[in-house]
């Protein structure tokens, strides 16, 4: 029995605790392993737990502490971290939630994973996801669904559902996810945690199995804004192995305490009246706007006139890139090989048919069609032109504001199987997709619980290119208002091996403020459910 409540520890508290020798990194690793062992049976966030790697990393941290070299350790020293299962970590299985890669063992380590390790993080394992990140609920994983810790009958969102659920259930303080159209922000919203999709190019994509190469971006999940900022500090910086990676010298923790006074916060009126936006979400977002105004921010209305085209541009560009990226899974060098074929052609077809789930097969075929001769000019080229328009929209908007505040998802977490209508399913990503098209940074910030559902609701913060510190600064201000995101109630006390009595530090990381929606006044959003302008239907297609 360790003398601390592991699940409540933030990365920052872990550092203090290590310095004060309240616990060792080994104890942290063991506590995290116990926590996973006791909790994950219900949540199913982990596809693979890596105790050996975690304990080996912990040993290195403890050796540094013992020799008085704690300062030489990175900002995440001793912090248990887990990774979405599309991130390569040498020697671990990297399945992407797909039968295709069920037995695939990484031959190298992704840059983002390496940077977490270099910062002293303890690699706890790999997390469930929609197959190849195609989905918004983690229901398309070939290895079972992940449960939302707030309500085990509900989805955690997706595609980084395992990453969100692992943090929300207090199994690890920090996880990494990837976001192609909302795959970090939407599950963060459903699970009530902080989830950051940095500006495209801020975090290297090298070693992260590609879905949409021009859309994918890696980012952290955490329960506190500061932990997310610390993780981001470790992740960013130029990687010579990724042509699209950019240099960055920002300390994302530097301005968290500055407050929002004088900041210009952009609000998009069309977003607040969009079709499918649930009243409790709209209320919460309006409440956040009022709070920010009260804190001295200037609220400005901005226009994103082409935002409506983002959805269809996304469903052209995403599948085209996915089709091409997934063509390498051919049963020759790695991956599932259907046995017993005398010729390569039938082996290809049988392996790819059995290895890919239905959603992956649909996307691959759609992308192939959209890139075919004659069709390319009808969809792909215009989709890229639309990308220019949307990017220009954001550039114009950020001439008038420092950060945009919007809903993350139009609704709270839904039940397994509840959404069979793909039109409703795709709306999960209606507010997140355009940010991937334009490449800006975006994050989901918990705003307490919905007045109706009692489930987590969130705001999305969107920043200009490479000004991710702007949104983290606003997020920190909101966190001070709403309190630190709590562990889902069902998992607050359910841990056998943690002594909840003896927490002697890091009060800031504990649940000081119970989440509740603070303002009941903003109830008028439901009256005008104007068409936000997404495509009439995206049947058969799930967002991410």
């Amino acid at each position: 029995m360790v003398g601390f409540d592991f699940k409540d520890l933030s990365a920052e508290a872990i550092r203090f605790g290590l310095a004060a020798k309240d616990f060792s990194a080994r104890e942290l690793a063991e506590a995290a392993l116990e926590r996973v062992a006791s909790v994950d049976e219900q949540v199913n966030a982990f596809l693979q737990v890596t105790p050996d790697a975690a304990l080996a990393a912990a040993e290195a941290v403890d050796a540094a502490v013992a020799s008085g070299n704690l300062d030489t350790l990175g900002p995440l020293a001793g912090v248990p971290v887990a990774f979405k299962d599309n991130m390569n970590l040498l020697g671990t299985r990297t399945t992407c939630g797909s039968r295709m890669l069920e037995t695939y063992k990484s031959a190298y380590t992704a840059t983002c994973v390496q940077r977490i390790l270099d910062a002293g993080g303890l690699p706890m394992g790999k997390l469930n996801m929609d197959e190849f990140a195609f989905g918004s609920s983690t229901e398309t994983s070939a290895f079972g669904t992940t449960k939302n810790p707030w309500d085990l009958e509900r989805v955690p969102g997706g595609s980084s559902g395992g990453s969100a659920a692992a943090v929300a259930s207090g199994m690890v303080p920090i996880t990494l996810g990837s976001d192609t159209g909302g795959s970090i922000r939407q599950p963060a919203s459903f699970c009530g945690v902080v989830g950051v999709k940095p500006t495209y190019g801020l975090v290297s994509r090298y070693g992260v199995v590609a879905f949409g190469s021009s859309l994918d971006q890696v980012g952290p999940f955490a329960r506190t804004v500061r932990d997310a900022a610390l993780a981001l500090n470790a992740l960013v910086g130029h990687d010579p192995l990724d042509c699209t990676s950019q240099p960055c010298a920002t300390d994302f923790t530097a301005n968290l305490d500055e407050g929002v006074e004088g900041m210009r916060i952009g609000v998009v009126p069309e977003f607040m009246t969009a079709q499918g936006l649930e009243p409790e979400v709209g209320e919460a977002v309006l409440g956040a706007i009022e709070k920010l105004a009260a804190l001295g921010a200037e609220i400005v209305e901005i226009e994103l006139p082409n935002a409506a085209a983002a959805m269809s541009a996304y469903y052209v560009i995403g599948p085209c890139e996915a089709f091409s990226n997934l063509s390498r899974f051919d049963s020759v060098r790695y991956g599932y090989r259907d046995p017993g074929h005398a010729d390569l052609g039938s082996q290809y077809e049988a392996s790819r048919s059995a290895g890919f789930g239905p959603e992956a097969r649909r996307r691959i075929m759609l992308g192939s069609y959209l890139l075919s001769a004659g069709v390319y000019d009808t969809y792909y080229y215009p989709a890229q032109q639309v990308r220019t328009l949307i990017t220009d929209d954001y550039r114009m908007a950020f001439g008038e504001c420092d950060c945009i505040l919007a809903p993350t998802s139009p609704r709270t977490a839904f039940k397994f199987g509840e959404i069979s209508d793909p039109t409703t399913m795709h709306l999960s990503d209606i507010f997140t997709i355009s940010i991937n098209i334009a490449g800006n940074g975006g994050m989901s910030m918990p705003l307490g619980l919905g007045s109706d559902s009692g489930l987590p609701v969130s705001a999305q913060l969107i920043c200009p290119w490479f000004k991710d510190e702007n949104m983290l600064r606003v997020a920190a201000a909101l966190e001070r208002e709403y309190g630190t995101a709590p562990i889902a109630p069902a998992f607050t006390d359910a841990v056998a091996s943690c002594d909840t009595q003896s927490v002697s530090f890091g009060e800031a990381s504990r649940n000081e403020v119970r989440h509740s929606f603070p303002d009941e006044s903003a109830a008028s959003t439901a009256e005008t459910l104007a068409d936000f302008g997404g495509p009439a239907s995206l049947s058969g297609m799930e967002g991410e």
């Binding site: 599309n86 991130m87 390569n88 990297t94 992407c96 890669l101 695939y104 031959a107 190298y108 992704a110 994509r205 090298y206 070693g207 992260v208 199995v209 590609a210 949409g212 190469s213 021009s214 010579p240 192995l241 990724d242 042509c243 699209t244 085209c320 890139e321 089709f323 091409s324 063509s327 390498r328 899974f329 051919d330 020759v332 060098r333 790695y334 390569l344 052609g345 290809y348 192939s368 890139l371 075919s372 001769a373 390319y376 792909y380």
Partner: protein, 525 residues
Amino acid sequence: MKTMEEVLRDWEAVIGLEIHCELTELETKMFCGCKLEFGAAPNTHTCPVCLGLPGALPVPNKAAIESIVLAGLATNCDIEKHTLFYRKGYMYPDMAKNFQTTQGPKAFAMRGWLDLDVDGKGAQERLDVRDLEVGARVQSATRTETGYTTHIGITRIHMEEDAGKMIHIGGGEGRIDGATHSLVDYNRAGTPLMELVTEPDLRTPEEARLFMQKLRQVYLSLGISDCSLEEGSMRADGNISLRRRGETELGTRTEMKNINSFKALHDALAYEICRQAEVLEGGGVVVQETRHWDPGAKHTITMRTKETADDYRMFPDPDLAPYDLSDEFIEGVRAKLPELPDQKAARFQRTWGLSAYDARHVIEHRDTAGFFEVAMAQAGADAETLAKPIANLIINDLAARRSADESFDLATCPFTPARAVELAGLRASDAISSKQEKEVLEAVFAEDKDPAVVVEERDMKQVSDAGAIEAVVDAVLAANPDKVAEYRGGKTGLLGFFVGQCMKEMAGQGNPKLINQLLAEKLSV
């Protein structure tokens, strides 16, 4: 089947080439840091990128981009500043990502040209040119003293990556047809590969052969590739169609892929010309297809390939940044341009008075050009006198040795530039006859001795002493009075007989020029 010459009387061949060249002189691959090395153990020069492992990303090799810009400048191309890499999708096991990273509508180098000088037997293939007056033109060809020159347009040179290598097991002679299994080695996968595409400006197999040869000379001079045809670092696809003379529309073409020798390129195209003519003259139609040249059987056959769609689903590669080459970059590359083969030939003409024909053939190989330059330096004051004889040694004797022996290596053979100067000097001073010159050359190669030593040992100095020769001439004439009479009666063909008799008397060492001269004088009296 008719001969090619017969066919070409009625038909015109229209030929285009696509010539692939690996940048073998670079250290690493196109998009990753794996070493470029031919013949290594399978799959030992591989990494996540060139194996196409999930999550790996490409980063272009700057030296490869410099190399292709250099190649473009050397072939009179415009350098496109704004270009993109594209993904060209096709599922084939030698392509690790199942797409090839290549360039789209715009290549780094576009709209270039090379001029070809065609002479000798090869020039005879161009029936529409060979009977023209010197200076007259037809299409882009101009008749010259020794043959003709022709202007060949280059559509583009683009940058791409090579595929891996496959070994097919169970079929005949390693062929894919009939194989039960194949083995894939990705060492070659990702090798930087330039593809040059010509305009359909070539008209004969000889022009195609010469174009590839000239391009090889250019690339070699740039030091960007070993251009080894044997190892496949340079290879050509040839496409060819026929049309009736006077027609301007193109006929249906066939394509022959991965031709890896100059002779095969010539012979495959020549065969296709004859085969297509037979089909067309028999009332048939040429099928657009890829055919395989079998050098052993000396014919082309339809290549059995797995049906692959022509639609490659090309789109810009989102993992790679666009190119926006600066003037500074381009000028920096231009500054590295070495002397090109044409420039070298012009300099040889200018400096040492070589004819255009001699200069062109002396520089045909990098080693012979270097050999010639060293020899000229060593010849000192005699350089201009010895230039032509040494050029002849290179063009005739050394070329014959090279074509007789594939492993011939000028750099390590006994015949050094210094010995060439010595030999040419002996000949130029009439110390030996031209026949003796050949013998000495043979001996230099066989015995690794200086020419002067050979001449000394074999006591084979040419007698050029006019008095000594005159004595022999007089004796021969005196011994054959009847023949002298016949000669003087008009049978002048007997001169050869007298020369032969004199040479016999002098054991072959008499200066034939002097013998001829003296005989003519004395017989005409």
